[in-house]
Symmetry: D2
Subunit: 354 residues, 4 copies
């Protein structure tokens, strides 16, 4: 049985409709089709199946294997509102069918970029330590003594590991500090990086040269734990290491060792196990700035996700390609390491390539 209007199917769990859509975007969405609002739990198979034949757009993380795609002949858009592309969609079949698969991942890039800069300044100037010292009543007055190891970002070599959405949001914030911006990203051609007015460098050079090194790459099948003791040892004494994307890419203990012995300073927003176990040693490690996975998820951007998805659906129904969300790239979507289930709520970064 067919409905009179094309259907827009919502299955945003664990996000909620109220957090994603303001009144204006809800109204825009309803102009585009018959919206089947649902949230609070993952939609049941029966719920999904009944609407598939007339569905033109699916907003959520619903499983969409090949057989389901075959039962959705009018489908033109799958919009993941959790940021990372999950392995429960047959991306190759979507591609063949001309179904756009997009994610709202880029929406977190500005938030993470601002936090990454905040962490870098906090570490370079020891802002949390100085605050804690005054509260304890044992501050040292006047920079001469207290600032002995503080440094400016001005004119320093600032390095990025990964230059996808996060890097592209961070670079503009860094440019007023320094023109000496170096990047390693194996998924981008050197010439592309040069066009972005950064210097492409090798993995080793990135660690050796950066005064502040920002790790912005997603965990992939290729880079798990690939930053270890050798990399931290290669960093300059007093350099700052900002881990802003995923804990999976570093050997966390090696990182904390380097901070503990005062070789580098570390700021990290992520941890190998989250929520953070009580015995995570970082809690006692000096020369660190710690945050509990707070970089991406700032309230004001939740409704931007709804806005972006609605914008892109408007474009698709006008016969144009999506322009605001990130499009699944066949070549790389399979390399992004699937999130464990509990991590699905914490997604913040798009993959390390555009």
């Amino acid at each position: 049985m067919s409905t009179p209007r094309p259907i827009i199917l919502l299955d945003p769990y664990p996000r909620t409709i109220a957090s994603l859509f303001n009144a204006q975007d809800k109204a825009r969405l309803e102009k585009l089709g018959q919206v089947i609002w649902h949230d609070g739990s993952p939609a049941s198979d029966a719920h999904i199946e009944q609407y598939l034949p007339d569905t033109i757009a699916l907003l959520g993380q619903t499983s969409m294997p090949r057989e389901r795609l075959e039962r959705a002949p009018n489908l033109r858009l799958i919009a993941n509102v959790e940021s990372n592309f999950l392995p429960n969609v047959d991306y190759a079949e979507c591609h063949r069918r001309g179904i756009h698969v997009i994610s709202t991942g880029p929406v977190f890039a500005q938030s993470v970029a601002e936090m990454a800069l905040g962490y870098a300044l906090a570490a370079a100037r020891r802002i949390p330590q100085a605050d804690a010292a005054i509260r304890r009543g044992d501050e040292t007055m006047y920079g001469a003594a207290d600032n002995y190891d503080s440094f400016l970002l001005h004119g320093k070599t600032l390095g990025l590991l990964g230059c996808g959405n996060l890097g592209r949001a961070l670079l503009p914030l860094l440019r007023p500090f320094s023109r000496d911006l170096i990047v390693h990203d194996p998924w981008l051609h050197d010439s592309v990086l040069r066009e972005m007015q950064v210097e492409p460098v090798s993995f080793d050079a990135l660690f050796a040269r950066s005064k502040v090194l920002f790790v912005l790459t997603a965990t992939t099948t290729e880079n798990q734990g690939f930053i270890g003791a050798a990399q931290f040892a290669a960093m300059q004494p007093g350099a700052v290491f900002v881990l802003a994307s995923r804990a999976g890419v570093v050997n966390f203990d090696a990182m904390l060792d380097a901070a503990a012995r005062g070789h580098i300073r570390v700021a990290t927003d992520v941890f190998p196990i989250e929520p953070i176990p009580a015995d995570q040693r970082a809690r006692q490690t000096p020369n660190t700035v710690l945050g509990a996975h707070r970089a991406g998820n700032v309230p004001e951007i939740w409704t931007q996700m709804g806005e972006m998805v609605t914008d892109d659906l408007e474009l698709i129904l006008r016969g144009l390609p999506p322009q605001r969300c990130q499009r699944a790239t066949l070549e790389t979507v399979s390399r992004i390491r699937s999130m464990p289930a509990q991590a699905a709520t914490e997604s913040k970064s798009g993959p390390a390539i555009k």
Copy 2:
């Protein structure tokens, strides 16, 4: 008794020659005249007087009243290396005699600007509080709850009170975040601010409109304590107030009251009495980020002072005006409130005008 070469007289106390001059700049200075190196204590009157007749440049905070200027007929430069112009120089007489009076104040601008942005991000995102929570073991995981009052700088109205050296260093760092930059500076013409691509606003509008408000003005004879309870009440709930220059311009208790009741968040680098008394209530005030006068005095910039002074002396001896240091402006030098003696070591900001 006259020396065969023009004399360059050093009296940098409380700064030291070793902190101000690297080997290269010492060598450059010695090419420009006979350098009388002295530090460790203020030079004695006798020491100064014996060299006055042949002195072409005086680097330090030596008292130079009119009668001394008369005994220094070859003097062409007085370079304060403490940043603030002290009241122990007859500026009007220097002007009449064509003696350049300069200060190295601008050297601190980049350092303070970076710290001001660091404080703003730390307060907007609660970076020190989140770090302390993890160390205490009571962090909240995942932004949804913990970030309830976090906000992005992106697109927000960012306000500056004062747009002298500090403001000019901060504005480039803020531009990638927002184009909505508003400034109140009674010492600058509105048209000058508009040329700087900021919007000149009234004192009241600055408080009403700013999501983050940076106080960058020196204390003058006109502005002591001029930011009080009325101003804080006029700020938006949840706005951030960054006090980066001088405590003298605010009613400190009113500021802490506003933070304590959660109306605004405050980051302050300065305190009414420094060193900070043990009973300063800010130590227990929530919604604050505290620093003990650390914004300006970062080691890497000390030798920049020596470099700047040497550059300007080179220019003057080539028949050109100084270009790197701040020049004393007759109109405003007398309005900058003199520092109490103990504060002379903590100077960091130039006056609020160029």
Copy 3:
């Protein structure tokens, strides 16, 4: 019969291998496969067919209908080096097969953008007219009289019709002149334009508000001749109209009428018939700056095409998507109006969307 190595097939006519590839890029290309070099004429069907089974990449404008694609099971890249996507490729079938179809069109964007700004300044300041006057010996001295209708770009409203490759290259050049940048592009969502820090406006507002209006859009099936007498009449007296992409989008006579009566000034790089007929009335129309399709085709960028194609083939063979060339967008590739055969040599602009 199969070759031992994957084949890279060249068919770049009317471009030549010598103009496209420098020695370094030729060497890079030969590392990627067995290159079948051919130019000077379109490759014959027999030539193409013999290599199809082992071809991984085709660089040129060869016809590739569905049946040929079926005979090229290893094909992964079709790279048009003429800039515009021609109708002789089955784009939908390429998409289904995961064959990347790209064009070197973006390479011309910087060249056209610089020329467009040159035309705008030439028209706003009457540079060619003033030069001609001196050569004739009847110049007016000193701006007062001669500059009566000259204007600065500084602070003016600058408008773009179309914001694809050309617009994105032009915007950075315009930003130092003015922050009042307005754009109409029906293929881009308003929110995308706002993210680019330009103001999206309606077609009518673009003409009414622009002091300088840059036409940067390709001719599509939808926009032929859509700029006519009404639009020119709606422009401000003394405004400048720069036609930098395609003559097909304007009513050329209406444009020249508006210039002839002094209502606007026009700079055009393109003409309805090219080469320009001897009796083209623009040759005698005052208030115009004329160029014979010169904006894009500057020698130094020819080898950039070879470099970009080689870069993208390197990426594809590393399992990554192309990043430097423009990718054919199914939604829009069919709307770009096919070039007549003789125009194939003059292509310079990519389509008006990204």
Copy 4:
């Protein structure tokens, strides 16, 4: 006889009050004092003398030798509205008396900078020649042939001789084209140039390295004719030489020789004798773009002069230093070569230093 209000004395000839002041600025000026409006001819000595005792501000080019300054005890401002500081003022005595001497020279900087870029693009792309060819009916179609010697500014080495008001206005316009900006300015310290993010280079290196060289320096007692055959020979073949400030700094014949033999391309806005004699050979020299002193004097900026002077007088009467106009610098004001009388109407550039 004294007037009841402080007097503002106008003597703007050869400029006119109508061209300098719009209604709003006239009204602002009248709020500041009793304005003695006069123009059309230089004010007579008698006219000037009668008002001197009560005059606080003099707007114009009136002679102000020491004895007159003594008769003007209340004078606080002399504002030259012709741009160049003339030798008819005793600048040292003004300095001693704390009288601000300013000029509206900077107002022309944006206009000259835009024109300089226009000339550079016109020369690099042969815009006037291509326009003339179409009008003659002998254009070459399509870039391949016609663009054989065209080049992009993108990524090229762009050089400035002089980095005063003009250079500071031009640099922002050049930055989107290239980061390789080199400057020679003997009046600025290398460290100042580096702070401006340009590379300071020697006079010889400037000529050897620049693909486009902008001459922006005023004629001084030190630099007359200092650019000659040796400098032009040292330029790269096909480089562009833009003469945007003063003809006096070049050997004009050597410049035209270099253009005539095709070694370089030249764009010049100025000529050794102006108005340009009929037999000036530049009229027939190929590889040149010619303008008859048109770069500075665009109508919309005339009233900016009145606005700037009024702004600065407002500031002075509020006890602040002038901020918008250029202040006479004792060290350099005497080096700027006096203009011959007939040139007084053509002033456009401030001196080469700030």
